[in-house]
Symmetry: C2
Subunit: 188 residues, 2 copies
């Protein structure tokens, strides 16, 4: 290796993540990232293809953390309890990285989304199968994750504006949704 590298892809991604969460997507400029890691702007392009690519790397980084946190939260063996712990961990990380989280479900999905989704889905699918039966595992998992994702997205967007206790609404929804997917289909 020639001359000592003054930065690294990891440092660039970390700086980008910091700027993104601290000041929002528009404030994530190549200039400011370069300042943070101690090089001039064009040097970033030795590590990162483009600004869009940097966004992709940042979201991958957060997605990786999400996967790890989710898997670490599962332990008890009881599917309902495990799902509660998993979704709590999911929500906690989303709160810690609100902007990146929201961007993960933005239009123009980034390449590599498929693999990411599969990694994140494995544990969920297993638990959903235990809870709702193999036959309904996929729709049950989709119902659960749709509810959780929707709830978190809305609270992060500040869409829960009518007062009331948001925490209570989370518990309410969690109880009801987990219960609902394991019941037989309702009668009209």
């Amino acid at each position: 290796m020639p001359a000592h590298a003054q930065t690294s892809t990891a440092a660039i991604v970390a700086a980008g993540r910091h700027l993104l969460e601290e000041l929002g997507p528009d404030a994530l400029t190549m200039r400011d990232v370069a300042d943070m890691v101690g090089v001039r702007t064009p040097s970033l392009y030795k590590r990162v293809r483009s600004r869009a690519d940097l966004f992709r790397l940042i979201l991958e980084d957060v997605a990786d953390e999400l996967t790890v946190a989710i898997d670490a939260a599962v332990s008890s063996g009881d599917p309902a309890a495990d799902l509660r712990a998993m979704l709590a961990a999911y929500r906690r990380l989303a709160h810690a990285n609100p902007i990146a989280y929201t961007l993960m479900y933005a239009p123009q999905p980034v390449p590599g989304a498929t693999e990411r989704a599969e990694r994140m889905s494995a544990t969920l699918l297993r638990l959903a199968a235990e809870l709702a039966g193999q036959r309904n595992a996929l729709p049950a998992a989709r119902t659960i994750v749709a509810w959780a994702n929707g709830f978190i997205t809305m609270e992060l967007a500040g869409a829960f504006l009518l007062g009331g206790d948001v925490e209570q609404a989370w518990e309410f929804g969690l109880d009801r949704v987990l219960n609902a997917v394991r019941l037989p289909p309702p009668q009209p």
Copy 2:
């Protein structure tokens, strides 16, 4: 009134909406909007404060359509049936305007979101109260709309990658969630 206006705020918003849905947020440039409505770029600033303001106007426009579509869908008098129709209309409009829809729950919420949310919530809250009782109306409404929003967000982002029938998953979740919010709390 002096010299004939060659464009209008409505035309600008319509052009912006079209560009946004057709080519994505990055392609929504003031230049292209101006071309579409037949004026030069700086003339847009007589009607619109900034590009961010144009985004705001576009999202308001879509939100208004959403509100109208939702209210028009409610008719039968049966709360469950009305909710099904309402959510179907909601989803249909989201599919017709996927990028704008996703942007509505993006970071950095736009001003005016409060009023929008209240307008959109009125019907939902009434139906939720009929279905789940006055006491649980708010958390029930939040559970329903969180599920629907999450489901739609994920399918628009292409996050349902594991195959299976997405339509069936929608029906599955809809049945289960509507049923769940009117039941008494589950026993552990």
